[in-house]
Assembly symmetry: C2
Homo-oligomer: 548 residues x 2
C-alpha cells in the first residue's frame, strides 16, 4: 500500500511553467481561404499546414466511383437571377456562374481537413427563415441540389459539395432570439457561433451544454445537425435531451415550426429529433431552442498516471462513485499520445514519472471548497488503493488550461509529421483500449511503423472521452499510404462491428463514413432510415451523395 | 430583514409525528379487477373508490361520436385458433371470443382512472420479441386493430381499447437482460416493472433515471412509449436523452433492432426517438436500453412557506444557483392544495404558520455533509432576503417521506369528494400560477364553487413540478358536472395556446387529449406527424382512435 507521504507528494500542486499546446480559438470573423490554411477538427485544435486550396484534390477525383446524378439540373443564369432578386443584398450571394468568383467561392468548396473539395459555383446566404424557405422550394421545384453549411468545421466532409451543389451558408442568420433567465431556455438563429452563445450565457451565469474545440467557428445549427458530442456530454448529456425545439425548412419550403421552449411537451411525435444528427439531409435547421444549465463557480482539474487499462477502468468507476454529480470530464490519453505531444511541443510534462496511461478529470460544481475536498479525498483514495500511481491538481485557471493542453493538444501534435488516419469510435468500455493495442500490433507486424522516414507510420495512439466510451484511434503518418489504409480498413470497422460499437461516435457519417454504416447498423435500420429520407426529401436534393 | 434568531427558529429540524398521505406502492403482482377497485395516476398515488367495473361507462357510450372503423375485421374463432397455436401457453392468451371470459378480461378493458372502458374479447401476452412480431404481422395482414398495453397506469386512456381492439399485454416480457456496472447501461424487456428495475439497480448502487407514483405497476416499455416525466426529470433529464436504444416491432412484423448500449452513436437518423412518446401508435416497444446514473448517498428534503408566487420564482432561481448540481426536485403546492390534504388526512402540518404557497426541495448528492451545508446556507440566505417565510428540513428517511407526502398526497386527497378534473400543463414559468388564479376566479364567479353540497366544485388547486415548468391544475368536485366542464374548456386550452404552452406536459395525448392537440401544435406539425403515422402504420391498426 502506498505510504501517506507518497500520497501527499503525489498530490502536490502542479507547477508547470511553460504552456503546452494551448487551446487555440479561431477568431469569430468569417474564415477566408489562405495560402497557409488552417485546419481544425471538432476534437479541439487548429493546425497549420501549407499549400493553397489548389493543392486539395477534388472529391470527384479522390472518389471517382461517385458520379454526379444527372437528375439534378445544372445551374443557369436564370436560376442566379432568381436568387439575386430573392436575397436582394450583394453580400447574400456569391455568384460564380455568371462571372469568375473562384477565390471567393473556394472557402465554401473545401473543408477544414483539406480532404474534400467540391465544384460549386453558387453560394447563397439567406438572412431569414422565409428566405431559406423560398430558396429550398425553388431548388426543389427545379431539381437543384443543395448543401447546407454552418461553420464548416466537420470532420467527415458533410458540409461541402461534391459536385456543383448550391451551398446554402447560414452565417447571416446569426441573432440570439431570446433567453429566459429563470428556465434557462435559449433561442438562437442556426448561424449563431457556439462561442458567441456561450459568451452571452456566461454574462447570465449560464453555460451552453455543449463545448468543443471548433467553438470559435462552428454554428449551433451545425452542432445540432451533426449531433455534436464534445467535452460536456458526460455532465450535461446529449443534444437529444437538451434541445427543446427546432425550426427547420423542409425541401419543399415547408417551415417546421417546432421551436418550443418547454422542457416537457407530450403532444405527438418528437419530430425535431430526426433533425438532430440528420446532417442536413432532411432540411435546413434555421432556429434552435436549447436548455442551458446554471454555470458552475468552481472548476477543478486533476491529471494522473496509471499502470494499466484495468486501473483506468477502476479509476473511472471510483470517480463516478465518489465525484458523482460534480464529475464533468474523464478523459483518457495513452503514453504514446503524450510522448508525441511532448516531442512536438517540448513542454515539461505535468508528472515527473512516466506511465502507460494518463487520465484527466474535471469537476465543476457550485462550491469550490466542497469540490476540492471531494477531489482530494478521491485522489488520496485511488492512490492508497494503488489504482493511480501519481497525480497533480491544477491550481488556478492557467494550470487548468495547461493540463487540458495535454489532452486537447493531441490531434494538433499528431498532424506534425504529415497526416493522421482518424477513427472516432464508440466501444464497450471494458474493451475500449484493446483496439489500440491490436491495431498497433498489426501495423507494427506489417513493418509500416518505425522511427525512420522509410516507415509511413509514426505511431498508433488512443485517447478520448472515456466517460462516454468514446475512443479516438489515431494513426500518425509521415505520408498517406495505401498500405496503411489497407492494414486499417476494414480491420477497424470489423473489430467495431463484432462488439456492437459505433463506427462514428460523434463525428457523423458525411461522405467519409457513408459506406461503412453497415458495420454499425443493420439492413433493417438502414432501410427504415431511407424511408424517412424519401418521405422528407423525395427528390433527394438535400446534401446528396452522403449520409445513408 | 429577518433576524438571525428567526432564521434559526425556522430552520429547526422537522418534528412531524404522524405520517401524512404516505406514498403507497402497489404490489408487484398482476393487478386484478376488484369490486373495490384502486385507481392510480402517474403523479403518485393510489386511491380507493367503490363500485365494480360494471359501473364504468363504456368509452363508446361516453364518446358517441367515435365510431368503430369498419375497415377493421371482427375477431373470429379462426383468428383465436391462430393465436393459441402461436403463443402456445394457456397463460399467454385470454380468450373471450370462443367462451365467456368477461371477468378475466375486464382488467384489460378498463383504465385505472375508471374513465375509459373498451369491449375487447381477446388479450394476448406474447413472451418474446419474435412472438410480438408474429402477432403484429398477422393482425396487419388481417386488418385486426391492436392496443399495446404495459402496466395500464396512464391518465389519458391510451392503453385500453375503445371497441374490440386486441390487447397485446407485455407483462410476460419481464426479464432484465443485462447491466453494465461501468457504463451504467441497463437493458430490459419492455414489460419489466419500473420498481423492479430500480430495486435491481439499487443493489448495484445505481438509480433508474425516472421515478413516478405508479412505479409499482407501470412497465418500462410503457414509460418510454408515453415519454413519462415524473420526479427525477429536473435532475436526470428526459427519456429522449437517457434512452440509449429501443427494440420495437412495427405493424408489419419488422423488428427494429435499435437496442444499442452506446452513449454516442452518430450513424444515421435517431429513429428510436419517434417511439419515445409515440404512445404505441407506430409499433410495440419490446426492449429498452437506458443509461442509469450512480445512486446518490445523501438525500435532503426541505419544505417551506412563501408569501407570493413572485417569491416562489425568486426561491427557484436561488435554488438553481446555490444548489445547482445537487438540486433534484423543486415542487410547488398552493395553500388550497395543502388545506385539502390536511382536511382529508387530519395530519399535523410541517409548518406552524400558514402561507399562500409552499415549496418542497430535494437535494441528492454524494456527500451528506456538503449537501447539508449547501442546503442550510441556501435556506438561511432565502430567509434573510425574506424570499422564504418559514421552513423545515427533514431529518432522516421517515421525515423525508412525511414531507414528500404533503406533495405526493395531493392527487389522492383531491379525489376524496368524488372526482377531479385534471390538467397537466407546461407553461412559461413566470405565468404558471396565473392560470390557477384565473380559473379559480372564473369558477367562483360562475357560482359553482362553495362549501356546501349544492356546489359541484370543492376547490381549484395548483401544484406541480415547478422545476420543469409543469403545472397540475386540478379542480376537485363533488360530482362531475357539465357546467364545470363548460367553464373549464376550452378556457384552459385557449389560455395555454396563447402562451405557447403545452396542453399535455407529461401525460400524453391518448384518447383524452387527442382533440386538443391543435392548441399546442400547428397544422403543419400535425400534418408532418400524420405522415409518420402513415409511413409506419399504413393500415392504421396500431392503437386507433387516439393520439394525433
Amino acid at each position: 500500500m502506498a505510504s501517506r507521504s507518497r500520497v501527499s507528494l503525489a498530490l502536490r500542486r502542479a507547477r508547470i511553467s511553460s504552456i503546452p499546446c494551448s487551446r487555440p480559438i479561431r477568431p469569430l470573423s468569417q474564415f477566408r481561404w489562405q495560402s497557409t490554411a488552417s485546419t481544425e477538427d471538432s476534437e479541439g485544435v487548429a493546425k497549420g499546414t501549407t499549400g493553397s486550396s489548389k493543392t486539395i484534390k477534388f472529391t470527384s477525383e479522390t472518389y471517382p466511383d461517385i458520379k454526379r446524378d444527372p437528375k439534378f439540373a445544372e445551374i443557369t443564369e436564370d436560376h442566379v437571377k432568381f436568387f439575386k432578386k430573392l436575397l436582394g443584398k450583394e453580400s447574400a450571394i456569391i455568384d460564380g456562374v455568371t462571372k469568375d468568383a473562384t477565390d471567393d467561392i473556394e472557402p465554401f468548396n473545401g473543408d477544414w481537413m483539406r480532404k474534400y473539395r467540391g465544384h460549386t459555383k453558387l453560394v447563397l446566404k439567406p438572412g431569414s427563415t422565409e428566405e431559406v424557405s423560398k430558396v429550398l422550394k425553388y431548388c426543389n421545384d427545379n431539381m437543384l441540389a443543395v448543401v447546407p453549411q454552418g461553420g464548416n468545421s466537420g470532420l467527415v466532409g458533410g458540409s461541402v459539395p461534391v459536385f456543383d451543389e448550391i451551398v446554402v451558408n447560414m452565417s447571416r442568420m446569426n441573432q440570439i432570439r431570446s433567453f429566459d433567465e429563470v428556465s434557462g431556455a435559449l433561442v438562437v438563429d442556426a448561424g449563431v457561433i457556439l462561442e458567441v452563445a456561450d459568451g452571452f450565457l456566461q454574462e447570465k451565469n449560464h453555460i451552453f451544454p455543449l463545448d468543443l474545440g471548433a467553438k470559435g467557428s462552428c454554428h449551433i445549427g451545425g452542432n445540432v445537425a451533426t449531433n455534436a458530442g464534445g467535452l460536456r456530454l458526460l455532465r450535461y448529456g446529449s443534444l437529444h435531451g437538451n434541445v427543446l425545439g427546432i425550426e427547420a425548412v423542409l425541401p419543399d419550403g415547408t417551415i417546421m415550426d417546432d421551436l418550443g421552449q418547454l422542457r416537457k411537451n407530450n403532444t405527438g411525435y418528437d419530430l425535431k429529433q430526426l433533425f438532430i444528427g440528420g446532417e442536413g439531409t432532411l432540411g435546413i435547421i434555421t432556429g434552435v431552442s436549447i436548455m442551458c444549465p446554471q454555470r458552475s463557480n468552481a472548476i477543478n482539474v486533476a491529471f494522473f498516471g496509471l499502470e494499466s487499462y484495468e486501473k483506468v477502468q477502476l479509476a473511472f468507476r471510483e470517480a463516478k462513485g465518489q465525484l458523482s454529480e460534480i464529475l464533468s470530464a474523464f478523459e483518457l490519453m495513452d503514453a504514446q499520445s503524450q510522448d508525441l505531444v511532448q516531442k512536438v511541443t517540448g513542454n515539461k510534462r505535468p508528472l515527473e514519472s512516466e506511465h502507460p496511461f494518463y487520465c484527466l478529470i474535471e469537476t465543476s460544481g457550485s462550491n469550490s471548497e466542497h469540490d476540492n475536498e471531494k477531489l482530494e479525498k478521491f485522489l488520496e483514495d485511488v492512490m492508497e488503493k494503488e489504482i493511480v500511481s501519481d497525480g497533480v491538481v491544477a491550481q488556478g485557471q492557467t494550470q487548468v488550461k495547461e493540463l487540458w493542453g495535454w489532452r486537447e493538444g493531441i490531434p494538433e501534435c499528431l498532424g506534425h509529421w504529415g497526416g493522421v488516419y482518424k477513427y472516432d469510435l464508440s466501444i464497450p468500455i471494458n474493451e475500449l483500449y484493446a483496439l489500440v493495442e491490436e491495431t498497433r500490433e498489426k501495423i507494427h507486424n506489417s513493418g509500416l511503423l518505425g522511427d525512420t522516414d522509410d516507415h509511413p507510420v509514426v505511431d498508433v495512439v488512443g485517447y478520448g472521452h472515456m466517460g462516454d466510451s468514446n475512443l479516438h484511434l489515431n494513426v500518425a503518418v509521415r505520408t498517406y499510404d495505401k498500405r496503411v489504409e489497407k492494414a486499417l480498413e476494414p480491420f477497424v470497422y470489423e473489430w467495431i462491428a463484432k462488439r456492437d460499437g459505433s463506427i462514428s461516435a460523434e463525428h457523423g457519417l458525411g461522405l467519409a463514413k457513408k459506406n461503412y454504416i453497415g458495420y454499425s447498423r443493420s439492413d433493417t435500420m438502414i432501410k427504415l432510415m431511407k424511408q424517412i429520407k424519401n418521405l422528407y426529401d423525395p427528390n433527394g436534393i438535400m446534401n446528396p451523395y452522403k449520409y445513408i
